[in-house]
């Protein structure tokens, strides 16, 4: 529980943070600290940590806003703020709900969306929500910025598209994902991470599912979308059994992904119960999409967008 000595620096801006990460030996960025600090204390860090660059002073990375048609979530936004954001609940309910399922209250008050996605633990709750919400992740680096789709972001063994010296600064969501979202979690009894976590973003119009993005974390490394479920859902009337029929298509059999298992739950078992957890997420998401799609004409445009998005 006693980390080796390291240098500590606090950055006031993204530019300063990037400079510090470049200048200091073996520097690592610090957001909520829930992954980095335990790794430091238990000697579990993958590589030597010579310096910690604290990002908490960078104000512009905190909060949820709307930019044109997109929802913009600063990387330092806490889980608690995501879960309670009216904007996010309206525009990307799946991410708000998933954030509300992370850890406990203390963790949600401290941990950040950027830290969660960048640490990319296969059992973390936000990767599936990012995939379902069709997120694009903004990375800033010494040579400028770039954007990476969530579908291209997660790599095996907890890896991500973030390169050395880069910072994840923003999560951008198209207006498309909407309020028809839900996250269902079967919680790991020891770690509190997801044993099986299914995120669904569903749009419906006039009683028919027009778009669906569904993804899972906890079961596969890396987290992955569930295309069979999505295909089964789109065009389906939003009746009572839509969720059940689509959930039956949930399979963890994905190219490039391996099953995650441990002493509490083998990978094969997680894959077996994936449909049951998916059904919970889809039931809620489809119900919300129906209410959303039927209740508010102003959402019809978004629903059309979602239809296009779902077909990508």
């Amino acid at each position: 529980m006693f980390p080796p000595a390291f240098d500590y620096r606090r950055a006031g801006s993204v530019a300063e943070a990037l400079d510090l990460l470049a200048a200091l030996d073996d520097a690592r960025p610090l957001a909520g600290g829930h992954s980095l600090l335990p790794a430091l204390k238990t000697g579990g860090a993958d590589e030597r940590v010579g310096a910690v660059v604290d990002l908490s002073g960078i104000e512009r990375l905190d909060g949820v806003s709307v930019d044109g048609g997109e929802t913009v979530v600063g990387a330092l936004t806490t889980y608690a703020d995501l879960a309670s954001s009216a904007t996010l609940r309206e525009r990307a309910r799946v991410l708000a709900d998933a954030a509300g399922e992370v850890g406990d209250r203390q963790i949600r008050n401290r941990g950040t969306v950027g830290g969660n996605l960048a640490a990319a633990d296969p059992g973390a709750d936000l990767p599936a929500a990012a995939l379902a919400a069709d997120a694009t992740l903004r990375l800033e680096g010494p040579d400028g910025g770039r954007s990476v789709a969530a579908t291209e972001f997660f790599e095996p063994d907890g890896g991500t598209a973030v390169a050395d010296g880069e910072l994840l600064t923003e999560v951008r969501l198209p207006g498309a994902s909407g309020a028809g979202g839900a996250y269902a979690k079967k919680t790991h009894p020891a770690s509190g991470y997801a044993m099986v976590g299914v995120a669904a973003a569903v749009k419906a119009s006039e009683g028919v599912v027009t778009a669906a993005r569904v993804a899972v974390n906890g079961v596969t490394d890396p987290p992955t979308r569930l295309p069979g479920v999505e295909e089964a859902l789109v065009g389906d009337p939003t009746g009572a059994d839509a969720a059940e029929r689509a959930a039956a298509e949930a399979t963890a059999d994905r190219d490039g992904a391996t099953l995650v298992g441990d002493v509490h739950a083998s990978g094969a078992f997680r894959a077996e119960v994936l449909p049951a957890v998916a059904e919970r997420a889809l039931t809620t998401a489809v119900g919300r999409a129906r209410a959303d799609g039927d209740g508010d004409a102003g959402d019809e445009d978004d629903a059309d967008d979602a239809g296009a998005g779902g077909g990508r």
């Binding site: 006693f2 080796p4 509190g192 044993m195 002493v263 119960v273 049951a276």
Partner: protein, 787 residues
């Protein structure tokens, strides 16, 4: 017996009674708030790691990364070269000192004579995490850096982590004197009589089960601060102890020092569950190093260190059978168990498993019982008593068997239990395995549990709930042996009339400061607030045994009660002298002695007179009494726990809908504290049933060495526990009390498992092993996943 079947009303009555304290009501029986909690809850209580000393140095262990290996070399040079490292010790340093350096083992109870656990590895390591070297440094960080710098080379040997496999011909041998790794085989009961009973019975049923290995997860890890005074040659060890006098004796043996030179102080202790009563390397190594260095040395276990090397619990593999007639009469019980005891015997830990069979007949009038237990060394952390210590293992076997028998003969499990309960007129009752129950009235507790869980309604309801989940209800009847050994209680009235009670037990969550003060206030007749309870210091408390095995209220409570009565008797004689009255006519209430003529003298004046003032001629001064109390016989608590569950067959998820605990611990000193004991015990029992499991890989690596891998119950996974009570006093002690500290850990596992098996009966499931992880439940229903 009497019945308290309306807990809320009872609690209100307790509280109402509490308001009448000043009018002379008895405090025993009242659920008054624990006086300890204000300090504990506001962070003002002092724990071992809070203790400090000038020039204190910090010790950390290099722990074995191998489960079983010869230690070829330990190179400490790089560690010793670090700035701030004071020393790096290996077994060679211990061996060269005047200390034996070995934790004693109770080998006389074994079939072999293995060496005890060395504080640092001697040539060989026998479990992952065994201390190999110790680094002492100016601060904790440097000590950890030093640990990283020590190089150990191992020549690995094969590991064996399962006690059944460890007896196999191919298994590696841990100790020369035990080629099959069996430390001792224990037989309880009459094997021939049991054979005959089984042959005569209408039916027999077999159950194979595992009592899963657990890790004591006290909130506060073990710790010690050792200070050696070379001038007086005295060693003071402040440590996390349930048993200060017990640890003093064990430290004396390991260090080669007389007990009179060692003082053990245990300040507030944050939970123990047994493992803080055992003798481990950490505390002994810190004490040894403090003498060696001439500086105070502190050692505080890391959580992972505690998990790797703190004594584990349970780890039984049992094949058990029950013989039953078609009318539900149980004819016989038998069990054959392999119990893992780890890589070393810690004290009596290696022979402890064999005694579990003594409670195998539980509440039932069974004439023939036989239990054979092999205690088996495995290359794992030492196993010793963990909250319940044999009783949970026994009752789990019994209650699984009883349910299996009910299923076999087609009888309701509650009815089969009822038919076999020991008759209330049969006490004292001697069991076939040699236990003598003091008192019991089992059927009312069963009835209260059935009523509270609405048993008949649940049984009559459809197999599946409206949402499709399967519905089940399970029972566990149990007995608990409590209050063994001796304990001391010193009650001392100070000249100002205030009182200190010194007891050889040590509270680590049990609330002795409250319960002993309640008992002494009643016996002595002085106000509760004038009574302080002191424990946890071998220099303040004359002698004692400690707190474990649900014993403190039974032996400690009666010890302080007897002393209080002795003090009252002497005080009354002094008061009578002062009041010119016959002692038989003098009464004491609320701290005032009164004579029939209306004259009165306060307890404080009497206490002052006792210390050099006016007292009867020839009476020696002072106002105190010490009792070394030994119960004439074990007190057997009992009860029935009832659980209603729902099981989701698609996911394996189990939800406990209702949990009812009916416990009878004789007279109830403080019902609030008793409820708390039951709540905590049930939480631990549910943890064992649902999620806790110390798992070793085949190579001997502990795979659950941290809290994110070892699944303790969380607040959200512990059910609401409805507590009820019946009251059947023990005839063997004046207070009429029995212990209750372990009841929840005993009853909860079988109650939960039986409920789940009841739910899954329509699916043809008749067995599932703890912990009932979602996957295990799912597999019990669906078989191997992925097919």
């Amino acid at each position: 017996m009497s019945l308290t079947d309306a807990p809320d009303e009872q609690r209100e009555a307790d509280e109402a009674a509490g308001e009448t304290d000043d009018e002379g009501g008895k405090l025993v029986g009242q659920g008054i708030d624990r006086r300890e909690d204000a300090a504990l809850l506001t962070g003002r209580a002092t724990f071992t790691d809070d203790a400090d000393a000038p020039r204190v140095a910090h010790l950390a262990f290099v722990r074995s990364e191998e489960a079983h290996a010869d230690v070829e070399a330990v190179d400490t040079a790089a560690a010793e070269a670090l700035d701030g490292v004071l020393a790096a010790y290996t077994w060679a340093d211990v061996e060269a000192s005047d200390a034996p350096g070995v934790l004693p083992i109770s080998a006389e109870a074994l079939d072999c004579d293995p060496p005890g656990h060395p504080v640092l590895a001697r040539e060989r390591v026998r479990y992952h995490g065994q201390p190999v070297a110790a680094v002492v440094a100016e601060d904790r960080y440097t000590a950890r850096d030093g640990v990283e710098a020590v190089e150990v080379s191992y020549d690995p040997r094969p590991a064996v982590v399962d006690p059944v496999e460890a007896r196999g011909a191919d298994a590696p041998t841990l100790f020369e004197g035990a080629p099959d790794n069996v430390a001792v085989t224990t037989d309880l009961g009459d094997e021939a009589a049991t054979d005959a009973a089984f042959a005569a019975a209408d039916r027999t049923v077999e159950v194979k089960l595992e009592n899963n290995r657990l890790i004591a997860s006290a909130l506060e890890p073990r710790a010690a601060l050792a200070e050696y005074d070379a001038g007086s040659d005295e060693l003071t060890v402040t440590m996390t102890s349930q048993s200060p006098h017990g640890h003093r004796r064990k430290l004396s043996e390991t260090l080669g020092l007389p007990e009179r030179s060692i003082r053990v102080v245990a300040p507030s202790v944050g939970g123990g569950f047994g493992h803080k009563g055992h003798h481990h390397p950490g505390e002994a190594a810190a004490a040894w190093a403090a003498r060696r260095l001439g500086r105070p040395v502190k050692w505080t276990a890391t959580r992972s260190g505690n998990y790797l090397a703190g004594a584990h619990g349970r780890d039984h593999r049992t094949t058990a059978k029950i013989a039953v007639d078609d009318d539900g009469t149980i004819r016989g019980l038998r069990a054959d168990t392999d119990a893992g005891v780890g890589g070393y015997g810690l004290g009596g830990g290696a022979s402890l498993p064999g005694w579990y069979g003594s409670l195998l007949s539980s509440e039932y009038a069974v004439d023939a019982v036989h239990c054979r237990t092999r205690s088996v060394f495995t290359t794992t952390a030492p196993v010793h008593s963990y909250r319940g210590a044999g009783r949970p293992e026994a009752i789990y076997v019994t209650e699984r068997l009883v349910d299996a028998a009910a299923r076999e003969v087609g009888m309701d499990p509650a009815e089969l239990r009822r038919r076999n309960l020991i008759d209330p007129d049969a006490f004292p009752y001697e069991t076939p395995t040699g236990a003598t129950y003091d008192s019991g009235d089992y059927e009312p507790a069963l009835d209260v549990a059935l009523e509270a869980v609405d048993y008949e309604a649940v049984k009559a309801a459809p197999d599946r709930d409206d949402d499709g989940r399967y519905r089940g209800v399970g029972l566990a009847c149990m007995v608990e042996s409590t209050g063994s050994g001796f304990e001391t209680g010193l009650v001392r009235a100070h000249p100002d009339g205030t009182v200190t009670v010194y007891a050889g037990t040590h509270s680590h969550g049990q609330g002795h400061g409250t319960t002993y003060a309640q008992i002494v206030a009643d016996e002595l007749g002085v106000p509760y607030d004038d009574i302080e309870v002191a424990e946890g210091d071998t220099e303040r408390v004359p002698t004692g045994t400690g707190t474990f095995g649900s014993r403190s209220t039974v032996v400690g409570g009666n010890a302080v009660a007897e002393s209080a009565a002795d003090v009252r008797e002497k005080a009354t004689r002094i008061a009578a002298h002062r009041l010119d009255a016959d002692p038989a006519d003098v009464t004491l209430a609320d701290g005032t002695f009164s004579a029939p003529d209306g004259s009165a003298v306060g307890f404080a004046d009497v206490a002052a007179a006792a210390h050099g003032g006016d007292r009867p001629a020839g009476m020696p001064p002072g106002l105190e009494a010490t009792t070394a109390y030994e119960s004439e016989a074990t007190a057997y608590s009992f009860g029935t726990h009832a659980v209603e569950v729902r099981v989701d067959a698609d996911t394996g998820e189990v939800d406990v809908e209702t949990y009812v605990a009916v416990d009878d611990c004789g007279e109830r000193v403080n019902p609030t504290i008793l409820d708390g004991q039951v709540h905590g015990g049930v939480a631990q029992g549910v943890g064992q049933a649902r999620s806790e499991h110390a798992v070793y890989g085949d190579d001997g690596e502990l795979l659950t060495g941290s809290m994110d891998r070892y699944a303790l119950p969380r607040a959200a996974s512990v059910p609401h526990v409805e507590t009820r009570a019946t009251v059947t006093p023990s005839p063997h002690n004046d207070l009429g009390v029995k212990g209750i500290g372990e009841a929840g850990t005993i009853a909860a596992p079988p109650a939960v498992v039986n409920a789940v098996l009841d739910a899954l009966e329509p699916l043809g499931v008749d067995s599932v092993d703890m912990p009932l992880t979602d996957e295990r439940v799912w597999r019990a229903i669906h078989g191997e996943p992925g097919r």
